[in-house]
């Protein structure tokens, strides 16, 4: 599909994810036992046959750059097109950080122009969903739209937390309201857009010259297009979609993988595989006294204790007489003997000493710990107990 170039916004800092995004950008946060959040959108692109993709990075891009590499796991290591990581740059006329989502695309107009596409897909790398962008594009072409925005029905009582699109029966958009107090519709924007490139380019250039603009798609570009009565359509998506913007929602989305029949989020779909860099670890080893229930466990793990309703990334280890429940252990985490973890998110390579107890109440937000946080906790309690 060469007529459409994808632009993936991956600069998000993810402030509300706490320690999870201390060192890495939100799209690079580990997810689902094996993946990073951005793998879902990268795989959507490759499964939708988007062959040219620009990934716009800004905040702490090191891990993200290494993860994407030459794009091989997503079949994006191509001679023509493929994946390009686009970071902010300086040129003869100066240079600056991307000051908004629209500005990030504006500063890379020359990147898109070299492929001379008819359409541009703009997505963001911090949402968990499985979507065929081809269907979105088909509707865009059929309705001869200037822009098509993917929407999802949200519960009415939550609608005021989202950007809401008001549409006619034929899904033509006549109004966009950011977090409306009294929503007239429950169609929330998913931050997934397809634009006809010629139209978008004109608006981006116009917007770049407006000093008062915040250079944001939702706040500036879409309202400007609506003001000019351009053809904007909504595309209704009815699968699983989640913005993993908070620790609570990050934890929930991981748990949703364990309840895929209720949640609709599944990694088992052979025709819509989520691809990632594989660590090439040996298979997991389950000891003779182990109990593993209702969990996802990646290769390289060793389990001798009890694991329930949890997600274990590669090379995690749970020793004898320990219990890990409703928790997420990132790569290389070691849980010593006689320890109990309940509703805890343990970051990469953290070593939890013998006899540690961390129990977060079922109504509280799950706790994120790394070695530093853990050491602080242990120092305060003078040992293994909390």
């Amino acid at each position: 599909m060469r007529e459409c170039v994808g632009m993936l916004l991956a600069g998000g800092e993810g402030k509300r994810l706490g320690a999870l995004t201390n060192q890495i950008a939100k799209p690079a946060v580990p997810f689902g036992g094996k993946y990073r959040i951005i793998d879902f959108t990268l795989s959507n692109c490759s499964n939708s046959n988007i062959q040219t993709l620009g990934v716009l990075t800004q905040y702490s891009p090191l891990e993200l750059n290494r993860h994407i590499g030459n794009g091989k796991p997503w079949d994006m290591d191509r001679r023509y097109g493929g994946v390009s990581v686009l970071s902010p740059y300086t040129a003869k006329t100066g240079g600056d950080w991307y000051s908004g989502t629209a500005d990030a695309i504006y500063q890379n107009i020359h990147f898109i122009n070299q492929y001379n596409p008819k359409y541009v897909l703009v997505i963001s790398g911090d949402h968990i969903y499985q979507m065929n962008y081809q269907k979105l594009l088909n509707q865009h072409i059929r309705t001869k739209a200037d822009a098509t925005i993917s929407v999802i029905k949200v519960p009415w009582e939550e609608a005021s937390r989202f950007g809401i699109l008001n549409t006619t029966d034929s899904l033509r958009i006549y109004e966009f309201e950011e977090k409306p107090e009294h929503p007239q519709s429950n169609l929330a924007s998913m931050g997934i857009y397809i634009f006809t490139w010629e139209t978008l380019k004109a608006y981006l250039i116009q917007d770049a010259m407006r000093k008062t603009s915040s250079h944001d798609f939702g706040k500036d570009i879409i309202p400007a297009m609506l003001g000019d009565e351009k053809r904007l359509y909504a595309y209704e998506f009815d699968g699983y979609w989640k913005d993993v913007g908070t620790i609570q929602s990050y934890w929930e989305a991981n748990m949703d993988l364990l309840n895929n029949e209720q949640s609709g989020l599944s990694l088992d779909n052979n025709s819509w595989r989520i691809h990632t860099q594989d660590s090439n670890y040996p298979p997991q080893f389950i000891g003779k006294d182990a109990t593993v229930r209702h969990s996802l466990i990646n290769s390289g793990c060793f389990v001798y204790g009890k694991v329930e309703k949890s997600v274990l990334f590669s090379n995690a280890k749970v020793e004898k007489s320990s219990t890990v429940s409703q928790s997420i252990l990132h790569s290389g985490v070691k849980v010593g003997r006689n320890s109990n973890l309940h509703r805890v998110i343990v970051m990469e390579n953290t070593v939890i000493p013998e006899g540690t107890n961390i129990h977060v109440g079922d109504n509280d937000e799950p706790m994120v710990i790394n070695q530093e946080i853990l050491n602080g906790m242990l120092a305060m309690t003078g040992g293994g107990k909390q």
Partner: protein
């Protein structure tokens, strides 16, 4: 810098794998949940700094070439060097070479163009995580023509019968290569040889109408060559029959063996897949087992090895078994001492029980 090039010679390897080799060469038999037998020889070479490897493969190598691809999983997709699967002949009517000499003769370019002065040759049946770089340093230090990698069998078994035994003096110089069955010092099939000498010996073997390079080129010329042995002391297994295959898979359920074979960096590498992490349902019971990604378990698994994408439904019980890729085990099935090759589908309520010494083997893509 002195370097080696690699050669994995699958010709002349004795094996009795029956059902498991109906559709594939023995080097591509799946092993330990996600590997193929050849991964050990190949990874050991790459991990020892070798960056060009050739494989002599005569037949049934579709699955082997599918597994190896461009060699990228072993970092062998290179501008310089890389991976070569070499066929035995060119239909050249003047070609008089036989056995593995046919491969050497018809693929001289590989050796002549190589940039290394030394060649590491191995088979695919000795399963171990060996650092050949140490053996290579030893080869150089001792000033040997040929260095044979050996190991001592703790207990001699049937699987050891086809392998040569080594007699050496106190300094490690090899005095005899025999079939003396009571000698536990075994030749692993891996040896290092100077490249120019290799080609010289190949020519000599062809001139005298020989058909087995190691036997005629090295064993019979022992008196004329400086052959030294390098003893490997870590965990290793010779796998050349269903029985040894089964037993050595089961041995990996002992943690120390598993750690030594797989968790000593640098790791053994294999073809990666996009399978999601293994999924355990409620209820499920998994004890002392090795599971690869993509598995979905609702039933009971005990002392078994499950390859990628195996589905075990509720009420099914699997004991002491090896279940290969994408097998589906329906409800209330009972399997004990069984090897299921890839894509086998076992229907509801079936019971299959093999014996400990002779596991029951089901060929690829069967429905039971």
């Amino acid at each position: 810098m002195k370097t080696m090039m690699g050669l994995i010679n699958l010709e002349h390897e004795h094996h009795v794998f029956n059902e498991l080799t109906y559709f594939r060469t023995h080097a591509s038999i799946p092993f330990a949940g996600r590997y193929r037998m050849i991964d050990f020889a190949l990874s050991n070479m790459v991990n020892s700094g070798i960056n060009e490897v050739a494989i002599f493969a005569r037949s049934k190598y579709r699955s082997l070439s599918d597994h190896l691809g461009t060699g990228e999983n072993w970092n062998l997709d290179r501008r310089n060097g890389g991976l070569y699967i070499l066929p035995p002949d060119w239909n050249d009517p003047s070609d008089v070479s036989k056995g593995d000499l046919q491969f050497f003769h018809n693929n001289r370019d590989y050796f002549n163009r190589g940039k290394s002065d030394y060649v590491l040759i191995s088979g695919s049946q000795f399963t171990a995580n060996i650092d050949y770089d140490e053996a290579f340093k030893y080869h150089i230090d001792r000033g040997a023509d040929v260095t044979l990698v050996t190991t001592v069998a703790e207990e001699l078994r049937e699987e050891h019968i086809p392998y040569f035994r080594i007699c050496a003096d106190d300094l490690g110089w090899v005095e005899d290569i025999t079939n003396e069955q009571t000698n536990p010092l075994l030749f692993t099939g891996a040896y290092i040889i100077n490249r120019s000498l290799l080609m010289e010996l190949v020519d000599d073997c062809i001139a005298y109408n020989r058909d087995h390079f190691f036997v005629h080129g090295i064993k019979e010329k022992l008196a004329d060559l400086r052959v030294v042995m390098y003893r490997y002391k870590g965990y290793g297994a010779f796998i050349n029959s269903i029985e040894s295959y089964y037993r050595h898979n089961m041995n990996l359920l002992i943690e120390d063996n598993y750690l030594e074979l797989f968790f000593n960096p640098p790791f053994v590498k294999t073809k990666v897949s996009s399978n999601p992490p293994a999924k355990y349902y409620n209820p499920s019971s998994v004890k002392q087992s090795i599971l690869a990604n993509g598995c979905e378990v609702e039933g009971e698994v005990d002392k078994s090895i499950l390859f990628r994408g195996v589905i075990v439904n509720e009420g099914a019980q699997i004991k002491n078994s090896i279940i290969m890729q994408r097998c589906t085990i329906e409800e209330d099935v009972y399997l004990e001492n069984v090897i299921l090759d890839k894509d086998v589908h076992v229907k509801k309520g079936q019971r299959i029980i093999g014996s400990k010494d002779k596991p029951y083997v089901v060929a690829k893509r069967s429905d039971i």
